[in-house]
């Protein structure tokens, strides 16, 4: 009788799928790039217009961590500030469209990035971007502002301009939105066969150091508390990437 011994785990085959890449004229590539760019701009402008109508609410939301009135010191400063706030709102709201257009243009260069994968990537990119923005707004920004406010004294009071505050807040929000894309970057590189789990495992000890070096560059303050608050999430993102990245083979791409 056939013995029911230990069953071998099916070994993962190295993928040897062949992908075909089509050639079209440079003019057509430029046309597609222009169309995708215009679609993104259209959505940013539309969302910015919506932002203009709810600008008061956005300003209250942005200045909530500061709890101070902002000032402007040029005749047109107020208008410039309101336009910048509306555009920031427009860009943040249009992020799903921008991501879908970006990945839609990149995807034909890498045939393994099929439509379903692009849809998933767009969804996760947007979710991670919004998570990064929320994390910086609700956790890092209040902590950083609290730390800075310690330096005010009876003889030293802050007079913060709208432009300076906007530059501070928007750089924080956008940098974190971008940094939270680390898992997506690793997933795409993994899908394309450039890296696998063992590569990341080898890089993991160094990633701790890299996270803290990057955090030192991003944080405007020289204190280690803020640096740790930024460095730890970056390292956690590396760990999350390591969990999701698989051992996959390399695709063979043929140009026709």
């Amino acid at each position: 009788m056939h013995s029911m011994g230990r069953r071998r785990k099916p070994q993962r085959k190295r993928s040897n799928r062949k992908c075909i890449m089509h050639t079209i004229s440079i003019y057509k590539h430029f046309q597609e790039l222009r169309d995708r760019f215009l679609i993104s701009i259209f959505f940013i402008v539309s969302a910015s217009l919506v932002g203009w109508f709810i600008k008061d609410g956005i300003i209250v939301f942005l200045t909530k961590p500061l709890q101070q009135t902002l000032y402007y010191n040029t005749p047109s400063g107020g208008l410039t500030f309101l336009i910048k706030v509306s555009i920031l709102f427009g860009v943040l709201v249009s992020m799903p469209i921008i991501y879908s257009q970006f990945w839609g243009f990149i995807a034909p260069a890498f045939p393994p990035l099929h439509k379903k994968f692009i849809r998933r990537i767009t969804f996760f990119s947007t979710t991670l971007f919004l998570s990064g923005v929320s994390f910086s707004y609700f956790v890092l920004l209040p902590a950083a502002l609290k730390l800075f406010s310690r330096f005010q004294d009876v003889s030293l009071a802050p007079l913060i301009s709208g432009d300076a505050y906007f530059a501070f807040v928007s750089s924080y929000l956008i940098w974190f939105g971008i940094l939270f894309q680390i898992p997506i970057l690793f997933l795409v590189l993994n899908k394309l066969g450039f890296i696998n789990r063992s590569h990341l495992a080898r890089f993991l000890p160094y990633s701790f150091l890299v996270s803290f070096v990057v955090a030192a560059f991003i944080t405007p303050t020289p204190d280690p508390i803020n640096q740790t608050m930024v460095g730890l999430p970056i390292f956690l993102l590396f760990l999350i990437s390591w969990v999701f990245v698989k051992e996959e083979g390399i695709y063979h791409v043929i140009s026709i």
Partner: protein, 60 residues
Amino acid sequence: MSLVSSFEKILEKQVTRKEFLVMCVGFFVTIVGLERFLKVFELPKRVVGFGTGPYGGKKK
């Protein structure tokens, strides 16, 4: 061959999306690199000796 027709010939060249992206990245890196190079070494100011802003400025 005129400049316009040679430009049109380049635009009609058949390339894959990957080649197109490599071309775009190469162009971008070259332009940014050149800009940095000129800015760091202040070449327009040293070689030509005119212009304003970070790239030049007339010698007094």
